[in-house]
């Protein structure tokens, strides 16, 4: 598997605007105005703050169901996911499955390694085009 970089770290927050205000005003970071928004199909809204070659993704659950909402219920705010950019997503999924790891089918350039295959850590693989 050809890993290129850490694409982003996903952070679950209770209120997106409050969290963004904290990181912008107090840490001097700036959100990317061209990315993020409301994603009803995922039950979330999100925003990205670039830091060097990676991003912090802030994610607010909008529903009571789904992985983000479950994380918020169980742990409150905090780091939710580590996203890794790969050169070739299909090849990466195939390779990991051949090694016995559980990986979701690629969908829109994204696949997830099951936490059961990563000692409990949420890992996302992403292919940028």
């Amino acid at each position: 598997m050809r890993l290129k970089r850490i694409d982003h770290v996903g952070i679950v927050v209770r209120d997106l605007e409050t969290a963004l205000a904290t990181y912008e005003r107090n840490f001097g970071l700036r959100r990317d105005p061209n990315r993020g928004g409301e994603l009803p199909a995922l039950g979330i809204r999100n925003a990205f703050i670039p830091v060097g070659n990676s991003d912090l993704e802030f994610i607010q659950p909008l529903t009571d169901e789904g992985p983000v909402a479950n994380f918020a219920k169980e742990r409150g705010e905090g780091q939710f996911l580590l996203s890794l950019e790969v050169e070739d997503l299909s090849a990466a999924v195939e390779e990991l499955r051949a090694k016995g790891y559980r990986v979701s089918d690629p969908n829109n350039g994204i696949a997830f390694v099951s936490p059961k295959s990563a000692h409990g850590v949420n890992l996302q693989l992403i292919e940028r085009r």
């Binding site: 598997m1 890993l3 290129k4 970089r5 850490i6 770290v9 952070i11 679950v12 927050v13 969290a19 904290t22 005003r25 107090n26 840490f27 001097g28 970071l29 830091v51 060097g52 070659n53 990676s54 912090l56 802030f58 742990r75 409150g76 705010e77 905090g78 780091q79 939710f80 996911l81 580590l82 890794l84 990991l96 090694k99 790891y101 390694v113 295959s117 990563a118 000692h119 409990g120 850590v121 949420n122």
Partner: protein
Amino acid sequence: MGVGATHIDHVVIRSSDSAATAAHFERLLGVPIRRTMTRPGTGAHLAFMKLREVILEFAGPGQPEAGEPRAQLAGIVLCVRDIHEAVRSLRELGYPVGEPHPAVQPGAMIATVKGGTHGVPFALIQYGAIPEKEES
């Protein structure tokens, strides 16, 4: 204003058995572990791998806990240009920030932000903050 962050330097993964989790991620990701060590003072076991400029740090107790390893994302370290200025800026805003102290990375200083970061343990690191001793 702000902390003058240049990039994410570390992402920390805390594990009940950091050696086992580091070895597992080495196989999973195909990225070699570059360094392992015991943290002076706490006895914590640390292992490090690097993806471009970002270090993945696996941290756990000196003695692994029994059972299957359990890990979770547990911190972000931002690289800053001037750690003393960054700490001063955050303290002025009321953040509880520890005193900058030598990091396990040679020549680097690190300071921990102890709250106010929406559930994410944060630290700041500056490389080259400790001048090398001149040879006599």
